[in-house]
Amino acid sequence: MTALPTKSEEAWRYSDLDSLARVWPVPAAEIIEVPAGESATRVIVQRAAGDAVVVRDYRIMLRRGARAALFVLNAGGKLGRIAIDVTLAEGAHFELGGAIVGGSEQTLEIVTSVSHTEPHATSNQTVRSVLAGHATGNFLGKVAVARDAQKTDAVQSVKAMLLARTATANAKPELEIFADDVKCAHGATVGELDKAALFYLASRGLPPAQAKALMLQAFVAGAFVALDDADERAAIEAQALEALEGLL
């Protein structure tokens, strides 16, 4: 049996290990293998109630030219952790759209490790977090580019919105690049709701909670723009809105 992780392990640095101990050891990773040239889309909504501890691991293997798109809403439980380990073969593409919506004493995290092992593979990770109360939202994103993986194009865009000074957002990109002809971009911002915009909405008659919900909904929707199926997109956006309204 594996030992309970400690904070000295990079991937668990900001986690809630006391809560983790309640469910340790966690089940083995679910394996998603996408054959050459095929594509797969998964929508994962984690809205466990109350003090639940949810730890899910995914191991995704993308063969030559394969494509996987994962859309995650991580909003439930005392600890909610979605860890995704991806290996890309030549010309494969990995798309992640992740949203974290949390309040009170929640710790919610998305942890990715994306390995570009062969040339011409691309990955795009977009994460939007909204945190209230004493919540902690973490995104730890590791991108590894192997020596042979020339022409890799890997992007991470991470934005967090804090609704209270007591909430915490951690964004930790980690690049490990052994090829010399690659593009790896990452951006991370932490901000608050635009007060001028809130006043503008209020001046038109929107009560504060509704004005905030409207703006946060738009912010979080940024994580789901790559979800092609309009019905699925509307469904996960509706779930996100419900979670958001719980914070206001």
Partner: protein
């Protein structure tokens, strides 16, 4: 309809309005003119209830209600509209979605039924057409990528949809070319020139007043009204300059 008495407003602790008094009756259009820094925008923001604009003295009565006691959204529901000098861009939030929610929030606050999606779109289209804004733009995120003139048209479309009783329009004419000015002026007249409504036009220049004829013109300087007259006062200001007239 609106009675402002001895209004004092401070921003960051600095007094801007220093004893402003003004009364608007139904059916009237008033223009407030004044040099930069006189407190024109501060007046609009104070009436709108913008956080940071602290009223240190005075009162504002809006049809028997203490306007200053209401939160900004409640002022809107009571029938007040603020036209912004610099309309805010809100990425990701569609114009029509936001306006429908805003209108229905106002209706709910007044105890009226919500407008259906179809009825709302009909109303939105009519106003957009009248102001020369396409429905395509109405569906875009609020003011994002709009030119200066389009933002001001959008303010007037919003006013038309929300149908307020009192509009405070803060430099709605700034940054407009002559054609846009005519369209905006026509919009203000159509939407607001009615026996039970009133308008406070805040402007630097006389030219908007060629299209929207005010019943009264006030000169704001140093945080208070220093002169009041008819439309001819605007022409005098244009000719003589503020320094002369406000002295």
């Amino acid at each position: 309809m609106l009675t402002i008495t001895n209004l004092h407003t401070a921003v960051d602790g600095k007094p801007i309005l220093k004893g402003l008094s003004l009364a608007l009756n139904p059916g009237e259009i008033h223009a407030i003119m004044g040099p930069n820094g006189a407190g024109k925008s501060t007046l609009a923001y104070t009436l709108g209830g913008r956080p940071g604009y602290e009223v240190t003295d005075g009162s504002v009565d809006f049809d028997g209600t203490d306007l200053l006691a209401l939160e900004p959204h409640a002022r809107a529901a009571a029938g007040l509209f603020i036209g912004f000098q610099y309309p805010i861009e809100i990425p990701g939030v569609s114009n029509v979605q936001f306006l429908r929610e805003a209108l229905n929030a106002q209706r709910k606050a007044r105890g009226e039924d919500a407008l259906s999606g179809g009825d709302f779109l009909k109303r939105a289209r009519a106003q957009a057409d009248a102001l020369g804004l396409s429905m395509d733009m109405m569906k875009r995120p609020v003011n994002v990528g709009f030119s200066g003139g389009e933002k001001k048209r959008n303010e007037m479309v919003q006013m038309g949809i929300l149908d307020p009783r009192l509009a405070i329009l803060d430099e709605t004419d700034s940054g407009l070319d002559i054609d846009a000015l005519r369209v905006i002026g026509h919009g203000i007249n159509t939407i607001m020139r009615q026996p039970d409504k009133a308008v406070l036009l805040i402007t630097h220049y006389q030219r908007l007043l060629d299209y929207v004829r005010p019943d009264f013109v006030h000169v704001l300087a140093g945080g208070r009204i220093v002169r009041t007259g008819g439309p001819e006062l605007a022409l005098e200001l244009e000719r003589e300059g503020y320094a002369q007239v406000a002295a």
